[in-house]
Structure formats: structure tokens, C-alpha cells
């Protein structure tokens, strides 16, 4: 509390002031269209590169193009889980209500991304491997990730007291976050049917530059989409939880 007061009197922008739902609600409203715009922009350019600029793969033909959705969705599902766990941890440490609301707002999009990744993976696997599903480490851990998202949502939904739901969900998210590195390292641990990681930080990527650009732009598109959607969802959660408070009752959009 002391830190909050001393820094708000300083000349720097006080980030803690946005941890209050009342100040974050209008900020989120202003940021949402910005992220939607970026998402659409990245999406259009990314899809154009993916479908018209990137060359067909020498071995996999045009079928490989599903990776422009598949890989960003898999990355996002993991990033969202990390973000969710981070917000959950912040909520536990600082006891801020908004952090837990952010974690709650991210979960459905994370589950959607995990599902999308599995679904597109199946579509890619059928022509390439000849099977919709193989019990490979990465597929399996993506499935576990989906279960973790569903478990988090189920736990929060079944606890009536929102404060307890927040904290219980936070502990579950932090316990589950142990799973995310296992997903990542599973590629090296269990060497199976799934092709090894072809995008790496240390060595030059083994794919054409245009393919990489298409994938990165699609990832940015998914990223912005996730932020925009999380902001919209967190506004709904704020309204729902703070409906008793005065500032919600005086909101222009609700009075109209």
C-alpha cells in the first residue's frame, strides 16, 4: 500500500493503478479495437503469404500449409497457459482481484487454441502419416494441456465464492505449469513419429524464409486476437463481479 501511494505521487505512470477493475475497465475498452485491428492486419498479410507467396513443400506439397494455423495455435496454447499461470501467481502474491480475472478470461481462449492445434494436427496427420491420431509425445502433451485448461475452468465454475475460486484456480494453474516444460522438452525426450522442431533459436531454421514469415505473422495475428478477446472477456467478468459497486451502476453504457 505504501508503495502505491508514494509512486502515485511521483511523476512516473503508476502501473498499480490499473490493477483496480474500475480503472482497468475503460482502459480495456480503449485497447480492444487496437488489438482487433492489429490481429486483422497480421491475419490478412499472414494468410496472403501462407497461401500465395510461400512455395509448396518439396515433400509434403500444399498440404503442409495447415502448419500456418497449426503451429501458431500450439504456440499460443502454451503461451496462454504460461500467461494464465503468471496472472494467477500475481493474484496470489499481490492479492489483486484483476489478476485472477485475467487468468479466468484467458482460459477459454487457451482451451480453444489447444483444441484447434489438435484438430488441425489431425487434418495434417491423415494425409502425411496416414492416421488422424498417433500416440506421439507432443500430441499427447497437447491433449494434456487441453485437459489442464478444462480442469481449470471446471474448478472455477464449481466454486461459488469467486475469491476462493480465484485462489484455488491459481494453485491449480501453478501446479499445471510444470506440465508446459514437459511439453516442450518431450520433443527431445521421446524421439518418435512427430518431426523434430524445425524452428529453433540457436541454428538457422530449416525452412524457407517466406514460410517462416507466414508462420510468424500468423502467430502475431493469434497473439493479438488472444489479447483482444481476453480484454473483452475480462470486461464482462468485471461487470459481472462488480455489479454491486457504484462505479458500475453509473456507467454510461449500462444506463442507456
Amino acid at each position: 500500500m505504501n508503495i502505491m501511494h508514494s509512486s502515485s505521487s511521483g511523476r512516473y505512470l503508476n502501473w498499480f493503478s490499473f490493477s483496480s477493475p474500475a480503472t482497468f475497465y475503460p482502459l480495456a475498452a480503449r485497447l480492444t479495437p487496437f488489438f482487433w485491428g492489429l490481429s486483422i492486419l497480421f491475419g490478412i498479410v499472414g494468410l496472403w503469404i501462407s497461401f500465395f507467396v510461400a512455395p509448396a513443400d518439396a515433400v509434403q506439397g500444399d498440404g503442409y500449409r495447415i502448419i500456418f494455423i497449426h503451429v501458431p495455435a500450439s504456440w499460443m496454447s502454451m503461451v496462454i497457459y504460461m500467461a494464465m499461470a503468471m496472472w494467477a501467481a500475481l493474484g496470489l502474491i499481490f492479492n489483486t482481484r484483476l489478476s485472477a480475472m485475467m487468468a479466468q478470461a484467458l482460459a477459454p481462449t487457451g482451451a480453444l487454441m489447444a483444441f484447434l492445434s489438435l484438430w488441425t494436427g489431425a487434418f495434417w496427420g491423415k494425409p502425411m502419416w496416414g492416421a488422424w491420431w498417433v500416440w506421439d509425445a507432443r500430441l499427447t502433451s497437447e491433449l494434456i494441456l487441453l485437459f489442464l485448461f478444462l480442469g481449470f475452468m471446471a474448478l472455477q465454475a464449481s466454486i461459488d465464492d469467486p475469491r476462493r475460486a480465484d485462489k484455488a484456480g491459481a494453485i491449480l494453474a501453478l501446479v499445471g505449469v510444470v506440465n508446459v516444460p514437459i511439453i516442450y522438452f518431450s520433443v527431445t525426450w521421446w524421439n518418435t513419429l512427430h518431426q523434430g522442431a524445425s524452428v529453433s533459436m540457436s541454428k538457422a531454421p530449416a525452412m524457407a524464409h517466406t514460410m517462416l514469415w507466414g508462420m510468424l505473422l500468423m502467430t502475431m495475428c493469434f497473439w493479438m486476437y488472444t489479447i483482444a478477446l481476453a480484454l473483452m472477456r475480462v470486461r464482462a467478468i468485471i461487470l459481472e463481479r462488480e455489479s454491486h459497486s457504484d462505479w458500475v451502476k453509473t456507467l454510461k453504457e449500462l444506463r442507456a
Binding site: T140, I144, F147, L148, L150, G151, A154, L155, S158, I159, D160, R164, K167, A168, I171, L172, L174, V175, G176, V178, N179, I182
Partner: protein
């Protein structure tokens, strides 16, 4: 440390006075594993192949069954609150309860497993690996499960929710535990599996009691 052993003593005493609860879990383990040959057929080669997975999955499920009563009765009659308020560190008492749960629900499975293994026609060396793997793996199941049991304490539909939360977290134990047994029957080296199981156990001992304690404090808040 006295409190730790006192809690274990109390839990064991409570279960010995009402044996049916603990025995139900063991019967469940026996019945589930016996159902598989009945459903699949008595092909010995096939049974030998699926035995590690069947025994491990049955062990996961019976651990979950036992977990529901880990904190429930103490939560209902207020004992848990008294434990949280006592000067002894709460995490020590919770650790005692988890240890007792493993002694009563996990350890018996380790002793039962060889008999089920014989039913599935496993050879002596594979049985030895099975026992060792279960000995390393079942404490992890109790430790991780305790977090789930604490999170779902007094929650609507707690039992089903508990399995939904905990089973995905059990998957690494299942993979390495059943993998070790399968590797032995296939004549492969099992050192890696045991190392990973031991690593998971160390990780679980280090973190699970704290997470469980935090979850319990939220529940009794």
C-alpha cells in the same frame, strides 16, 4: 517431527478401526485388474503386453478413490481448522496425512501388484521392476492427489472434479512407471525410467505438501 508421526499414528488408527474404507480401495484395484482379462480374452501374450498399463491405470484410479476421504472428514468436523491454527507447522501435519494416505492406500497396492502380475503371466524380473516402480510411483500419486483433494474440498461434485483435475497430472508417472515395466519385459534398460520417476518423486515431495497446505488454507478460510 513428533507431530508428524503422531498424525500418521492417528490416521492409521482411524483406518484400522474402520477397515472397510481402506479395504474397498484394495478390492477396487483387484476387481478392475481382473476385469481386463475377462473383457479382452485369455490370450497370454496379449495379457503380458497390456499388464503394465492395466496395473498402473488401476493404481491411479484406486488412489483417486482413496483421496476423497483424505481431508473430507477432518474438514467436516473442524479438525482441519484446529490443525491450521495449532503452533505446529501446518505443512508438517499435512505431510503426515499424505504419508498416512500412502501407507494405507499406496503401499498395499505395491504388495498386491505381484499377485496381479502373476495373473497376467509376468516373469520374475518384470515383477521385481513392477514392485520397484510402484514403490517409487505411488508416493507421487498420493502427493499430487492431495493437492487435488485439498482444492476440491467441500466443492459441488468434488469427487468427479477431483479425478478431472488430478488424472492429467498423473500422466507422467503413468508413462514412466508403466514404461519401466514394459521395458523390462522387452529386455531393455530401465535405469532412465527409474531416474525420471525418482526425479518426479523428489519434485513432488518438495512442492506438493506446500501446494496442498495453501489449497487447504483457502478452503477453510
Amino acid at each position: 517431527m513428533n507431530a508428524f508421526f503422531a498424525i500418521i499414528h492417528r490416521e492409521v488408527l482411524l483406518v484400522l478401526r474402520r477397515k472397510s474404507e481402506a479395504l474397498t480401495v484394495l478390492f477396487f484395484f483387484l476387481i478392475v485388474t481382473s476385469l481386463f482379462p475377462l473383457g479382452i480374452g485369455a490370450d497370454v501374450a496379449l495379457l503380458r503386453k497390456i499388464a503394465p498399463g492395466v496395473i498402473w491405470v488401476a493404481a491411479l484410479l484406486s488412489t483417486i478413490l482413496g483421496l476423497q476421504r483424505l481431508f473430507a472428514s477432518d474438514y467436516a468436523d473442524g479438525t482441519l481448522e484446529q490443525m491450521a491454527l495449532s503452533p505446529t507447522p501446518f505443512v508438517l501435519l499435512v505431510g503426515g496425512k499424505i504419508t498416512a494416505h500412502w501407507l494405507l492406500c499406496g503401499l498395499p497396492l505395491v504388495f498386491l501388484a505381484p499377485f496381479i502380475g502373476i495373473q497376467f503371466d509376468l516373469d520374475l524380473e518384470t515383477l521385481r521392476t513392477l514392485i520397484l516402480a510402484l514403490l517409487l510411483g505411488t508416493p507421487i500419486l498420493s502427493l499430487i492427489g492431495a493437492i487435488g483433494a485439498a482444492l476440491t474440498l467441500g466443492v459441488r461434485g468434488g469427487g468427479v472434479l477431483l479425478s478431472l483435475l488430478v488424472l492429467p497430472l498423473y500422466i507422467p508417472v503413468l508413462i514412466f512407471g508403466a514404461g519401466a515395466v514394459f521395458a523390462t519385459s522387452a529386455g531393455l534398460d530401465v535405469g532412465g525410467h527409474f531416474s525420471l520417476l525418482a526425479a518426479l518423486l523428489v519434485l513432488a515431495i518438495a512442492f506438493a505438501p506446500w501446494a496442498t497446505t495453501a489449497a487447504l488454507r483457502i478452503a477453510i478460510e
